[in-house]
């Protein structure tokens, strides 16, 4: 019997750190009970934005961090999700709980249609192409009368049927829980993805497409799969956002800023890591909100300058993102030297 081999085989597949699991469980419980302690409207909004941006960044993390394709037009799927929910609700009275899935489905279709030609490109070319695709969605919706053109859609208020209509007017707390649950489900699914055969294969495509090809991996198909998954994660956030603000227009939901911010959050937190988008959103969203409050308004773009400065510091001193501050033995399997 080969002792070293048998020892290796007897190791658990994943390095489960009970302390980390306890901390995560504790944080989830805290997040669930937090609104019960009388959080005011601003803090509820702040957390809603953190959950939403964390999921959006996670969506971008799947295509960019896992499969290595830098998409600069990911806001398109956010907008598709937003319009799908609002349009079906207003035109046909379909509850947003169902039309969220329409948004995901339509986003997936567009991801395939865009992905087939675009993912033949790589690196900068793919990034530029997706940037233009993202902008073109905004232009099309600005001129599309069926969906309100540049004026957008004003979601009909139905305060008497809040849960079915997914709109809450007296408190932000229900929105908080809806976003929180989507956030937790998304992270759990992406965490499973990262540990699955698909996750391994996507990372192979990211690290070296040629080597991946030599291991029976159809690189083009896997890139499209990653793009579709990514789009399907992004779309529900657009849907929920539309129900949250109840008014959507192309400048708001197809804005290039959405595509850029999800990139910044992921890079700040740590690209290619499931936890990166959470850390990035938990830090960048409050900075963004507070800098807007204290430095924005009459101060012109001072908030954005401040925001950019933080990012430059991180990129220079922590290129692997803030996740790199966490001790490696927590994130990686222990090495035997």
């Amino acid at each position: 019997m080969d002792t070293k081999l048998e020892i290796a085989k007897s190791e658990p597949i994943w390095n489960t750190n009970n302390r980390v699991i306890s901390i995560i469980a504790g944080l989830i419980i805290i997040l669930f009970v937090l609104p019960l302690f009388g959080m005011n409207s601003f803090y509820l909004h702040l957390f809603i934005m953190i959950f939403m941006h964390a999921v959006m960044a996670q969506s971008w993390n799947v295509i960019a961090g896992f499969s290595g394709q830098i998409s600069l037009g990911h806001g398109a799927f956010f907008g598709i999700g937003a319009y799908a929910t609002s349009f079906f609700y207003m035109e046909y009275g379909i509850t947003p709980w169902i039309s969220i899935f329409f948004g995901m489905f339509v986003s997936a279709i567009f991801a395939v249609l865009i992905g087939i030609p675009m993912l033949r490109l790589s690196g900068h070319y793919f990034a530029i192409a997706t940037l233009l695709i993202g902008i073109s969605f905004q232009v099309v919706f600005q001129r599309w009368d069926l969906v309100g053109a540049a004026s957008g859609l004003w979601v009909t208020m139905t305060p008497e049927d809040s849960w079915s209509a997914l709109q809450f007017h007296s408190s932000k707390a229900p929105y908080y829980y809806v976003f929180l649950i989507f956030f937790l489900i998304t992270f759990f699914l992406v965490w499973l993805l990262s540990r699955s055969k698909l996750g391994y294969r996507l990372r192979a495509v990211r690290d070296d497409p040629q080597a991946a090809l030599s291991l029976c991996i159809n690189v083009s198909n896997y890139k499209i799969i990653a793009y579709v998954i990514s789009a399907m994660i992004m779309a529900p956030m657009g849907s929920l956002f539309a129900q949250y603000i109840l008014i959507i227009d192309p400048d708001r939901v197809f804005n290039i800023e959405i595509s850029i911010i999800v990139l910044l959050i992921t890079v700040l937190g740590g690209i290619g890591n499931v936890w990166g988008p959470i850390i990035g959103a938990a830090i960048l969203v409050p900075i963004s909100e507070y800098s807007r409050i204290y430095l924005g308004g009459t101060g012109g773009a001072v908030d954005l300058i401040f925001y950019g400065l933080i990012l430059m510091i991180i990129c220079i001193f922590r290129p692997n993102g803030l996740i790199s501050f966490i001790p490696k033995d927590i994130l990686e399997r222990k090495k035997q030297r």
Binding site: R203, S214, I217
Partner: protein, 240 residues
């Protein structure tokens, strides 16, 4: 039984013939050594066989199946593994993860893929390095990683591009032994090698290329004494 049959395989880049009318075949379970000076078209030949470069003309048959012009993932799926001259490990992943990606071809379950990967890593004598990131390994260890990763897809035919290239003298014998050990598993090997002594030691047949053309094909002893091969490697002297 012939595992690979190559007939009149040609590829040009612009006006340059990287490979021209190359023909040879490989017996199952044997080792074919491919030699030739730099720029002879050895790596291009590998790329043509494995689908990484589309050939202009010719035939490539793996057993009885025509694999001419098929995509690399489909060819590897048939059982043709390869390593690369310029090493291509998944640098930010551990050795175990690198090999598991290959093992997933045969094993759908993650634990079985892990166990299979570990067996192969043990076979290439790197079991203690299994949790090291590929970027932390030495060149020799990365060569073993690539072999292990290619073996993980359970290939019938394995193409290895310069197994001993770029490693120090002490590492070479271990790699040569590993190739011999691999052959004993029944896998057919085609290997590109610059070190003639190694080629003569491990090969059942040798294919010699020069300027994209086949200049000799046969048993090592024949090749060693072939005038064209000697000229290609050492050059010819013009009598003044």
């Amino acid at each position: 039984m012939k595992i690979l049959t190559v007939e009149n395989l040609s590829k040009s880049f612009g006006g340059i013939h990287a490979n021209k009318d190359i023909s040879f075949d490989v017996e199952e379970g044997s080792i074919l050594g491919v030699i030739g000076p730099n720029g002879a078209g050895k790596s291009t030949l590998f790329d043509l066989i494995t689908g990484f470069t589309k050939p202009d003309a010719g035939k490539v048959k793996f057993f009885d199946k025509n694999i001419f012009g098929i995509s690399p993932d489909k060819i590897s799926n048939l059982g043709v593994g390869r390593t690369f001259q310029k090493l291509k490990p998944f640098a930010d992943q551990t050795l175990l993860e690198n090999v598991m990606i290959g093992a997933f071809v045969k094993e759908k379950d993650i634990k079985r893929a892990r166990d299979r990967a570990l067996e192969i890593i043990d076979f290439v004598d790197l079991i203690e390095k299994r949790h090291h990131f590929a970027k932390e390994l030495s060149t020799g260890q990365r060569k073993r990683l690539e072999m292990a990763r290619a073996m993980a897809i359970d290939p019938k035919l394995l193409l290895m591009d310069e197994v001993t290239g770029g490693v120090d003298q002490k590492t070479i014998p271990g790699l040569v032994e590993l190739v011999k050990k691999l052959k004993k598993t029944g896998v057919t090997i085609i290997t590109i090698e610059h070190n003639i002594n190694i080629i003569m030691e491990i090969s059942d047949n040798v294919l010699a290329l020069d300027q994209g053309k086949r200049i000799a094909f046969g048993e090592p002893k024949e090749i060693q004494n072939n005038k064209q091969v000697i000229d290609a490697y050492l050059g010819t002297f013009d009598a003044a």
